[in-house]
């Protein structure tokens, strides 16, 4: 048998990994929508890092708008003031499409497009931001965990500002 031919059982494993990762990406969006931050942060490795990056035509380098480790995210969210919750407390809905899943043994890279909608108290919905989640996953004890999520933000004019992850 040739080395580079994927056997049927191997293909089945890969498809299982792919759908496991897709489920996790969709879960990450749902946890954020529902403000279930513990569950969200639990998707990360201990040393996992979250960042928001965007590129403006006026500056040569991409900008980092937020970069926090899992622990720092946790701390920031639990330290959010009443005001910050009042500002950020709109209903959120993320529509996510997982575009690329590349599994390489115990690591995987995924890239997903997202649109985040906000619904205010009056029931009015608007698109808040669009972009991509570029994720690096690592597998330990048979579970995929986020080592790095980079939110590549296309929207640069946000009409509500918040320290919550996008």
């Amino acid at each position: 048998m040739l080395d580079n031919v994927t056997t049927e059982p191997e293909m089945a494993v890969e498809m299982a990994e792919q759908s496991a990762l897709k489920r996790l990406i969709h879960a990450s969006a749902r946890y954020l929508d529902d403000h279930e931050f513990h569950a969200y942060l639990d998707l990360y490795r201990e040393e996992g890092v979250y960042s928001i990056v965007t590129k403006a035509p006026e500056l040569p380098e991409p900008m980092i708008w937020m970069q926090r480790s899992r622990a720092e995210l946790q701390e920031r969210i639990s330290a959010m003031s009443e005001h910050e919750w009042e500002i950020a407390g709109v209903e959120q809905t993320r529509i996510v499409s997982v575009d690329i899943v590349e599994v390489n043994g115990a690591t995987a890279d995924t890239s997903s497009s997202f649109a985040l909608y906000h619904t205010g108290q009056e029931g009015l919905t608007s698109c808040y931001a669009v972009g991509r989640y570029d994720d690096r996953w690592e597998k330990a004890a048979d579970t995929w965990k986020l080592g790095n999520r980079r939110v590549m933000l296309k929207t640069r004019q946000l009409d509500m500002l918040s320290p919550l992850p996008i």
Binding site: P57, S81, H83, R156, Q157, L161
Partner: protein, 424 residues
């Protein structure tokens, strides 16, 4: 001062006219048009930092009083501003936000007239068609606008008769700006815009008064409670500019990292500097990182806010990463303070727009950071330039009543000689 008989936001306050505002200054379309002419087009306005167009032929589009300008660094290193409007039939000549002019030229896409880095017309297509008329390329160009820089901060002024930038700022303000803007070369690493659903002046006020520090968790926790902080005072400069005494911030109170190393030039450990240039340039430095806010008023009730974060040119990767981190902690779209300021002014605007709130009070007089004299200084200049009375739009134009604080001496602390005309 007598206590007001009734203060409910709807009845004219029984206060000196300098100490309260007629909220229609935030909503009235005629006031907005007057401001556009006399303030937004009539004063020096910050448009960008020189580091944003570092090389010859680098350009950037900026908007001043609704006009789009091309800001371009010439072959000679000079920065020029030109109306981005073709001399032929008005098409937008440059159509991308920033870049480098190819071969130092701008070519209008419509009928292919071209211009150089100074705005001079370098080519008119099929010129023979103009043989019978007075159209000649050497008498054609993009209209230039005055540009001056101070410490790498680029300002433009649409009013050809206005005083120089130096005179507009005044020596005391220039001296105040030197730390941290005038000691070493700075560089912009952060730029974002957000539309605020509020009048531009409401946002300016958030940096012109210290009273609302009570709103901010950060300021309440790391600043306000300290003895030294309470001694901090505003200095009211002529032409409506203000500066706030330097203060030291206890970042540790909020479990934030202290800002004691790799500070911006001239800054003290954990130091904080605030300088506001009339009408809408708000400068802040928190020890390791600087922020510049400027505004593009779009209508009486909508404003585009532009925020920049600055570090030092030549920062190492580690130091820059630290500046970015410190910037994002307090400022930027995910920082703790900006969201609160936006939220506050939008909450005000709602009631001003629907008429529920007719008057605002700016009557605090005290030695310390929460004195309102800085706001009164802003409105004295606003009144001088617009000819409107900020406390009473119905009472007509002020003319030269001397309401403005344009004397040479800066004033510290509380009052600015309230006008005797008490409409109360």
């Amino acid at each position: 001062m007598n206590l007001p008989a009734r203060l409910d936001g709807r009845t004219r306050p029984q206060l000196p006219p300098t100490h309260y505002l007629d909220n229609r200054i935030y909503t009235d379309p005629d006031v907005f048009e007057t401001e556009k002419e006399s303030i937004l087009a009539g004063t020096w306005r910050f448009v960008c930092h020189a580091s944003e167009i570092p090389e010859p032929f680098d350009y950037r589009l900026v908007t001043v009083a609704g006009h789009e300008l091309v800001l371009v660094r010439g072959k000679d290193g000079e920065i020029r501003a030109l109306y981005n409007s073709c001399a032929h039939r008005g098409a937008r000549v440059v159509r991308t936000a920033a870049g480098r002019l190819e071969q130092g030229r701008m070519t209008c896409f419509y009928h292919l007239w071209s211009y150089d880095d100074k705005g001079r017309c370098t080519g008119i297509s099929r010129p023979s068609g103009y043989r019978e008329s007075a159209v000649r390329k050497d008498a054609t160009g993009l209209k230039p606008v005055r540009v001056e820089t101070m410490f790498g901060l680029v300002f433009v002024c649409l009013d050809e008769a206005a005083v120089s930038l130096r005179e507009f700022l005044g020596e005391a303000v220039i001296e105040a700006m030197r730390t941290p803007f005038g000691i070493a070369d700075l560089e912009v690493f952060h730029l974002h815009r957000t539309e605020i659903k509020a009048n531009w002046k409401l946002f300016v006020e958030t940096n012109y008064e210290g009273y609302h520090e009570l709103l901010h968790l950060l300021n309440r926790t790391t600043g306000v409670a300290q003895q030294e902080y309470q001694a901090r005072q505003w200095t009211n400069h002529k032409r409506g500019h203000v500066s706030f005494d330097h203060a030291r911030i206890s970042y540790g109170n909020l479990n934030y990292e202290q800002r004691e190393a790799n500070m911006m030039p001239g800054m003290k450990p954990n130091g904080h500097v605030v300088i506001n240039l009339f009408p809408d340039m708000l400068l802040n430095c928190r020890s390791t990182v600087a922020r510049i806010d400027s505004l593009m008023p779009l209508s009486p009730t909508r404003t585009l806010l532009e925020c920049r974060g600055l570090g030092l040119a030549g920062d190492t990767g580690t130091v820059r990463a630290m500046r970015v981190r410190h910037h994002n902690q307090v400022w930027g779209p995910t920082g703790i303070n900006l969201a609160e300021d936006m939220w506050a002014v939008q909450a005000q605007m709602r009631n001003m727009e629907n008429g529920s709130s007719r008057y605002s009070v700016i009557a605090r007089e005290e030695e310390g950071p929460m004195d309102d004299s800085s706001l009164r200084n802003f409105y004295a200049e606003w009144s001088r330039l617009t000819g409107c009375r900020p406390h009473d739009l119905n009472s007509g134009r002020t003319g030269d009543t001397g309401d403005g604080n344009t004397g040479d001496a800066a004033t510290r602390g509380t009052d600015l000689n309230p006008s005797p005309d008490n409409a109360g």
